[in-house]
Amino acid sequence: MKTRDHLGRHVVAVTGIGLVTPLGIGVAESWAGLLAGRSGISRITRFPTDHLRTTIAGQVDLPEEAGGSSLTSPARVERMGALAGAEAIAAAGLGTDGHFPGPLFMGMPPVEVEWPQRLDLARRGNGAGSGKYPEMIAAATGRVDLFEGALFGGVGERLADRFGTQGAPISLTTACATGASSIQLGIEAIQRGESTAALCIGAEGSVQPEALIRFSLLSALSTRNEDPAKASRPFEKTREGFVMSEGAAALVLESLESAEARGAKVLGLLLGAGERADSFHRTRSNPDGAAIIGAMRAAIADAGLEPGDIDYVNGHGTGTPENDKMETLGMRAVFGESPPPISSNKSMIGHTLSAAGAIEAVFSLLTIRDGMLPPTINHETPDPAVGLDVVPNVARAAKVSRVLSNSFGFGGQNVCLVIGAAP
């Protein structure tokens, strides 16, 4: 078996996967829901939605929230990251309990002190209710729980402690490409021989009022509130925004050499990664699509492949008019007149933001494993400007050896992965 790639680097295998999505906790449940074309989008119940333009989202109901109190975003990200991480490590059978023999790359959203905490400090800080920061700060002094809970490095540190990963945990954000970036960092660490294994997690837990309102103010969200399951419509003519969602995915990466030496089951290979930043605009791609096209081509070239070697594309496919237009442009530019099928998991689970790239990488591996293309649901009126095979509405059997998984982020950060079958 070749354990070095075309550039002489260690071949990177995936030996464990874990998932938490609005379709279910665990790989099996999420994947079954996806192949069934089930929507995980629902009306928001976690907080009142009065005065909001968008009142729907993909939501993961965590067992500890059954009593009605909901976690803050960092706690939610940590919890879902822990669930996905534990599933992936158990599947890989690597290391021992509390000792994982590689670094942690944690893709996650920025976190901060949140409204319930801020209001609590305001209540404690002043009887008169002036709500001024100096008084809230006085009330917060020495609240180590608040400090460690809202530090950017907090979630990663606690997960590193829990799983016993090696070295400094690396937390990162590249907006909607975050999950893919965390995998890319793991790939690179193994390729350059820094480690034989890595734990890569992407997690998102931002379905809370302020985050929802912020995206809403950018006019990025679907307002099709009346029928939540129909709201996310990537590549479809009547699409009008994405649906916020949450979840987590974890992948155990290993050098193929190390995986084979211990007789591990290889789920697939990470053949290549490519990235290109855009310098055009904070929320829009350059109309020439150069960065998107560059990232897709770079990933394929990094894998030592030609565009014709790609059997299926797991699209970024957010369902915003802009993204899907630009991704279509990229598909045409990279693949020419006969592009491979492309479908969007986001039609079912919504846009899991920082988790999306990692969740979609896991779905890409499962696509290869089962020879089943997940559908793009809610495809009622085709958009003639798209004209791609989006695997409309119903999953389809197909032999798939190599998948290109696209992730394009606000701020112009674009990352693509090429995922291949186990040797």
Partner: protein
């Protein structure tokens, strides 16, 4: 690393001012610039006056940012200029160590004043209404952590790749470490790496006050804070480094300010035997320290890691070559969190370039977590 990595550009802004000259001079001793009033009782090292137009020429770009992103974007531009690398930005790789951008403090306070009195259910509904009408769409982008990198791409055209690490001090150490490792293995020839921090922010003071470590009252040097149980004085600063392989720099006739010989990071759990001192001591194993090496100490003022750092340096003195001058960067520029490690590497590079020492060992001991070392020497 297989390729030798040079620092060919430094973009440094602190409360002392901007550029390499003022900071090189400060290595010989300088009085810090402290604002003890605006955020009393918490002293901070303030933002210096900057002519933003020099690095962010479009007013429209300036308006899309708040001070944190502006400061970082400005310093990134200084680094690119210093390296003479304006025409290399297309394939320049970028790693930013980022915190969060500014909240709308006036809105937060107004909402808190109104809602803290209400029953929770009623308060939650009103919160939606107030945020939906009060939040400015542009502020969202100004708050997003990865948009510092996004703005560096937009304003300066850096598009080779773009990654944003989060995690306070150690995010910056790993940003430098990984940027250098990628160049070392041949993934590109030039990279821009760094971070920025604005200390004069109520929202960040809220976070750091929760640690219980923020210094209250008058500013005093680090050495005098330890007896009182430590004390953190945050500093406004931004530091970006242009890293380049030696061969890439030589091919374009660029000079190396210093060579980045090693960057190492760890994260001790800081409990039991897994101490920051022990972690740093392991990191230091095998570092090619030369007699008279200077130390740029990243001690923050927070009690536990500051003591650990002092013990680590003492151990190094006992077991290694003669130690030269120790510069406490927090006494000069305060503690600028994500900007601390890159700023200290910049100071180390300037010390070496100025001939003050053959090498500079840079230490980073995060307020909560993260230990890091870097070694810079003459190219």
């Amino acid at each position: 690393m297989t390729e030798t990595i040079w620092i060919t550009g430094i973009g440094l802004v602190s409360s002392l001012g901007e550029g390499t000259e003022v900071h090189q001079a400060a290595l010989g001793g300088a009085a810090p610039v402290v604002d003890a009033d605006t955020f009393a009782p918490y002293p901070v090292h303030p933002l210096p006056a900057l002519d933003l137009d020099r690095q962010i020429p479009k007013k429209g770009d300036q308006r899309q940012m708040e001070p944190w992103q502006r400061l970082g974007t400005y310093a990134a531009g200084l680094a690119i200029d210093h390296a003479g690398a304006r025409d290399l930005v297309r394939d320049m790789h970028l790693i930013v160590a980022a915190g969060g951008g500014e909240r709308d403090v006036a809105l937060d306070e107004a909402v808190c004043a109104e809602i803290a009195r209400l029953p929770p259910e009623e308060g939650a509904k009103l919160l939606n209404e107030r945020l939906a009408s009060g939040l400015r769409p542009t502020l969202f982008l100004a708050q997003l952590s990865n948009l510092l990198a996004g703005n560096i791409s937009i304003v300066h055209g850096v598009t080779g790749s773009s990654r944003t690490f989060m995690g306070e001090e150690s995010a910056a150490a790993d940003a430098v470490r990984i940027a250098a490792a990628r160049l070392g293995e041949g993934r590109g020839g030039i990279a821009l790496v760094g971070g920025a921090y604005v200390a004069g922010r109520w929202d960040m003071l809220l976070l750091y006050s929760a640690s219980g470590q923020l210094r209250r009252g008058d500013w005093v040097p680090l050495a005098q804070r330890q007896d009182a149980g430590g004390g953190l004085v945050t500093g406004t600063a931004a530091a970006f480094l242009v890293l380049e392989t030696e061969s890439h720099a030589k091919a374009r006739g660029a000079r190396g300010i210093a060579r980045l010989t090693a960057v190492r990071s760890a994260a001790a759990r800081r409990r039991g035997a897994d101490t920051a001192e022990a972690a740093a001591t392991r990191l230091a194993a095998g570092l090619p320290l030369a007699p008279g090496y200077a130390v740029v100490s990243g001690a923050t003022g927070a009690a536990v890691p500051t003591a650990a750092e002092a013990a680590f340096l003492a151990g190094l003195r006992d077991s290694g070559p003669v130690q030269g001058k120790v510069v406490q960067s927090a006494d000069l520029i305060g503690h600028p969190v994500e900007a601390a490690f890159p700023a200290d590497i910049a100071l180390g590079a300037l010390a070496v370039a100025g001939g003050a020492a053959p090498q500079a060992l840079v230490t980073g001991f995060g307020v909560w977590r993260g230990e890091a070392l870097a070694l810079v020497e003459a190219p």
